[in-house]
């Protein structure tokens, strides 16, 4: 069974159709990159997968859950599907460890001591053990994003979604976040990521999907896709990104 199955999904904002029949599958352990211009629908697609956006037609299954808009179903789904956002979205009034422990404590009833162990574990995974008691405001953007990844990992997700997680970071900080993601990918995490980091897509993602005007325009094994784009749109996009 695929980890993510998307079948003929249509999504409209008012009269604007942003997804015009998108279908794709992600196998367990696979890393898939979604690339494309702003407005091509890639972020919307990602947000549909964990139910942050409702779809008008089609079908999405992820980690064994069928995505609908029933709040109870969505909570169960989100225990298995992590998402990391461009703007980190850490909770400013909670320390790093409290950010991480919040959901395990209240949605999975993990006891405090065990939650602390879990927090130390995932913080070590992103290389930020020493920030256990810091507040988000005292961290750099790259550190905040790594904490956000750790916070997602603490849920023990089966699938991780990354929505342009390095777009708000300068190049130096981008590197440290991508390194963490690469480690995750090598560790066998199923990942679907929207990214503008073409090198990362080429080198880490096994499959890259190029979206254009709300459709999957072209997809394939990453290296082939980048070295030999079939459509003029992807060719333009890749050469524009290469500057």
């Amino acid at each position: 069974m695929p980890a993510v199955l998307i079948d003929d999904v249509h999504k409209r904002f008012g009269n604007l159709e942003v997804l015009k029949g998108v279908s794709l599958t992600v196998e367990p352990g696979q890393v898939v990159a979604l690339i494309g211009r702003s407005g091509s629908g890639k972020s919307t697609l990602l947000r549909c997968i964990n139910g942050l956006e409702a779809i008008q037609s089609g079908r999405i299954e992820v980690a064994g859950h069928i995505v609908d808009q029933d709040p109870k179903h969505l909570r169960e789904l989100r225990k298995d599907v992590g998402i990391v956002f461009q703007s980190y979205n850490l909770f400013p009034h909670l320390t790093v460890s409290q950010n991480i422990m919040l959901s395990p404590r209240i949605t999975q009833n993990v006891p405090q001591a065990q939650a602390e162990t879990l927090a130390r574990e995932v913080l070590a995974q992103v290389g930020l053990s020493e920030k256990f008691d810091s507040y988000p405001d005292n961290l750099s953007g790259g550190q905040q994003q790594r904490v956000a990844i750790a916070r997602s990992l603490a849920m023990r997700p089966k699938v991780m979604l990354f929505d342009e997680v390095t777009s708000a970071l300068d190049p130096e900080l981008t590197g440290e976040v991508l390194l963490v993601m690469e480690k995750l990918a090598k560790g066998g995490m199923t990942m679907l990521l929207v990214t503008h980091e073409m090198n990362f897509a080429r080198n880490v993602a096994s499959t890259t999907i190029f979206m254009h005007q709300g459709k999957i325009w072209e997809s394939g094994p990453s290296r082939e896709l980048f070295s030999n784009p079939q459509t003029p749109e992807l060719r333009n996009f890749v050469s524009a990104g290469a500057h």
């Binding site: 964990n50 969505l74 909570r75 956002f85 979205n89 909770f91 919040l102 959901s103 997602s152």
Partner: protein, 231 residues
């Protein structure tokens, strides 16, 4: 004109009792009103459309009628439907209900100011809407509107003087009694003015201190401290 404070100061006991009642009424109304307000905001945010409309109606009713009239409605109106209470109890109820309405409006503004991305982060971590409200939204919302809430609390403390209209012997009620006994109106109210001023300023300072203790990590102050440390 000559001011004579001796006869007024001879009534210190009444003044002290008045101060204690003003503080007691205000503190109780602030705590109870705040709890009620949080429940109303939760109802408005989480429950359905009709609950929201009901809360809005309540808030508008209390914010668009005079406190004195609300006090009279409770003190003279409730006995007609079989609910008897002392003047002090009626005062506390009126102050609580009035403060709750204003605080609801202020806290709601704070809740609305929390960025949608914070809610999405909470929901994405499998929290329910109630849990997002309770654990993600409420504290930062409070931190943002704490100054506005604080001035509302001070206004309520000052408005407690209106309760003297139903013979509650808080500070203003005490003043009225002393005035009748001594015929030293101006002296009495000079003293009462100074006391109210001191009470209001003390409350303001206390609330500022409390806000910094409770909300330091989310207010701008914490960040300034950190920068100062680094420098």
């Amino acid at each position: 004109m000559s001011l004579q404070f001796e006869s007024v100061l001879a009534e210190t006991d009444i003044i002290l009792d008045g101060i204690m009642l003003t503080i007691g009424l205000s503190a109780s109304a602030i705590v109870l009103g705040l709890i009620f307000a949080v429940l109303l905001v939760a109802l408005r945010t989480l429950a359905g459309r009709w609950a929201g409309i009901a809360v809005d109606c309540y808030v508008e009713l209390m914010r668009n009628t005079p406190f004195l009239v609300q006090l009279f409605m409770i003190f003279f109106g409730l006995p007609l439907v079989g609910i008897r209470m002392s003047g002090t109890q009626a005062a506390l109820l009126a102050m609580t209900l009035n403060l709750a309405a204003y605080a609801t409006e202020i806290i709601r503004a704070g809740v609305d100011s929390i960025h949608k991305s914070q809610l999405e982060a909470g929901l994405s971590l499998a929290l329910s809407k109630r849990q997002v409200f309770q654990y993600v939204v409420l504290q930062p919302a409070f931190a943002r509107v704490w100054p506005a809430l604080s001035s509302q609390f001070v206004l309520m403390m000052l408005a407690s003087s209106i309760c003297s209209f139903i013979s509650v012997q808080e500070l203003s009620g005490a003043a009225a009694i002393i005035e009748q006994r001594t015929f030293r109106s101006f002296e009495t109210y000079i003293i009462v003015t100074v006391i109210y001023l001191l009470l209001a300023l003390s409350l303001k300072v206390f609330l500022l201190w409390l806000g910094q203790r409770l909300f330091a990590p989310v207010s701008g102050l914490a960040r300034v401290d950190v920068k100062a440390e680094a420098a």
